[in-house]
Amino acid sequence: MQNEPTSSAPGLAGTPANSSFDILHSPLGSPQQGASVREVNDPFHGDLLEVSMGPHHPSTHGVFRMVATLDGEIIVKLKPVFGYLHRNHEKLGENTTYLASMPYTDRLDYLAGMTNNWAYALAVEKLSGQVATERAEYVRVIVGEMMRIVNHCCLVGFLFNDLGTSFTPLLYAFREREKFLDLFEELTGTRMMYNYQRFGGCRVDPTPEWLAKAKALIDGFPRFLDEYEQFLTGNEIMLARTQGVGRLSPELAINAGITGPVLRATGVGYDIRKVDGYGVYPRFDFRVPIGDHGDTYDRYMMRILEMRESVKILQQAFRDLPAGPIIDPKAKNRGLRPKAGEAYGRIEGPKGEIGFYLISDGSTNPYRYRVRPPSFINLTVLEDMCLGHSVADAVVILGSIDIVLGEVDR
């Protein structure tokens, strides 16, 4: 935040807030540029202050902007402003072939590219009537759950950054992330943009050495998690800053379409891995962690517990991984022309329900390509969670929702 009066009314920047001038007042969320602090005159509520945070702000997780109206330090109104990273994802998807859209899905949620690939592959498989091979389904679970661990690990680091620990937990998280990224790089060739899933299977088959390395990493992961939790979970400052902060009621969460850990923290046991049972998830024995209060602390704990469950799933997947082809030999990827129709493929991504809705008109490109981004829909309740809290808490609440702007703005 920069304490600069806007240039729109330079002569009035020093006007007392309680004077009768109402020139500085403008409707909330008007498209002003840049970060600014302005005084808003409201005869009924005393002196309110309108603070614009972002799009360049270290704690808004990218180019996100929120316009907060403050009474003292308490937020009485908050308006999120999106669109600073609108990269025309859906329009580009309509102009490229089905396969050529796959690399673009990596760049939606760039902390968890693998699960985006998976959801898109699932949607196209539904549309074109293809089925992934057994081994590919297991490999999808392996890479998807590893991606979930990476995402949650980084999220906890970023959340503590927002709490003011200034980088140290993030260093631990990124140390672990690098180990996973090395494995992904060995498997797919890139660190972040994997382009790994194909319709009917996966692109390359993991070698036995790769699987052994991945298994060793997963077996050692609970030890890191214990160490991480020992530093963070019982921390007194952390408890004081997160417990009871940013409460979300289960009714509102369901009505607003919230999914993922944010929904489960409110006590609603809705996990698409269990509800849909897509892929081979019904064969694994795992539990879905559910919160109690729906506050920031519960949302943090959801991530920690889900990482532990992911480790359990991964160990079962490594044990049961069958032999066979990684991709259906008859699978059609290039020049795919599905019959006219529509399909919606969704999976439980690290942030919630990530879904792709496709309408085919029988040509090589989808007629309509729509992404259901979890973090954009989870962001809609930001104001309800922030009301009555201070600005510093709003930063923490935003951090606990886990947004990635590539997915919010698309």
Binding site: V63, L85, P103, R175, M192, L405
Partner: protein
């Protein structure tokens, strides 16, 4: 500063071994500047994650004196444009660039910042940040690896070390013929207004070979 040194390199080395350091003002000025480049903490898109990875323990950008990421543009020397610049964001990026104090440098990190990258066909994507601000180093990749960012930083340090206090190689703030303020575009009805800074960028002219 272009005169030949009065003593040879061997003599300087001999003196340094005996505890006497001889240098020129220009050399020590550039040495200090190039080894304490403070970047702006400013992430735009995917590349920002690799920028964070470069600051973390494995790649450790602190080895090159650039670990002090400043949230305020007033305290930063280096703008790393890390990701896609959309037309809605471009005015803010140019404004941040103007808020930084000279001497300042700009790295365009990733294909999107260089040319629009995979999103170049999009109606809302700026086709390269060099249309509005002067870019010193281009780092290709989608996203570039942290090693590539470190390599770009080393290249930038070389560039800083090769600058002179006078003449055409001087940094912008020591020259009279260059304006340090860059016009901020507006988010217009159809495109940015103006769509480019004509002093910085001219679209390449296509030269067709003559038909035989």
């Amino acid at each position: 500063m272009s005169e030949a040194p009065a003593i040879s390199q061997e003599e300087r080395d001999e003196l340094r071994r005996n505890g006497i350091l001889l240098t020129s003002l220009e050399e020590i000025y550039n040495w200090g500047r190039s080894n304490s480049v403070w970047p702006l903490q400013f992430g735009l898109a995917c590349c920002a994650i690799e920028m964070i990875a470069a600051t973390c323990s494995r790649f450790d950008i602190a080895r090159f004196g650039a670990e002090v990421f400043r949230p305020s543009p007033r305290q930063a020397d280096l703008l790393i444009v890390s990701g896609t610049v959309t037309k809605k964001m471009a005015p803010q990026v140019v404004r941040i660039w103007n808020q930084m104090g000279e001497p300042k440098y700009c790295i365009a990190m990733g294909a999107c910042a260089i040319s629009g990258g995979p999103f170049k066909q999009g109606y809302n994507v700026l086709k390269g940040i060099d249309r509005f601000i002067p870019v010193d180093i281009y780092i290709p990749g989608c996203p570039p690896r942290p090693e590539a960012l470190l390599n770009g930083l080393i290249q930038l340090q070389e560039k800083i070390k090769s600058q002179h206090l006078k003449g055409p190689d001087a940094p912008r703030h020591l020259r009279d013929d260059v304006d340090c303020i860059y016009p901020v575009p507006e988010f217009g009805e159809h495109d940015l207004v103006p769509p480019k800074n004509p002093n910085l960028y001219e679209p390449p002219t296509l030269v067709r070979p003559d038909k035989p």
